[in-house]
Symmetry: C2
Subunit: 80 residues, 2 copies
Amino acid sequence: MQRVKVLVTLKPSLLDAQGKVVQDGLHALGYDNVESVRIGKVVELNLTDGTVNVQEQVREMCQRFLANTVIENYDIEVLN
Amino acid sequence: MQRVKVLVTLKPSLLDAQGKVVQDGLHALGYDNVESVRIGKVVELNLTDGTVNVQEQVREMCQRFLANTVIENYDIEVLN
């Protein structure tokens, strides 16, 4: 079995409203040293062993389905 | 500035409904080798430099606010 971890994050130029809310929450709890917060998604995939090129297949999944490439970046990490 | 990445994932024993939906979507697109999918959150924090123990402070943030420790695990990575 192949494990793959995909991180999907909003592009840096875009306002991350969810991150701003979390930042305000942390300030309210007294963590004044928090300068910025950005929230993203982790997608952990387990793939059956096979003949496909995993990195290339997951890149295609991200392009077609897992990420909105207009506003999001993705980072693929093949774990084993 | 200190950068910290926190991964918050649902505990393995719990059903991940969002992950199941993504898995079904990937199967519908023809990726039949996808065995399981789990979705989590990434929280990227930028902290101002200071005297606090970053690892310990972020662990406290997770316990109090960033994660629901009844159903979620978290993993803290101090990047620099």
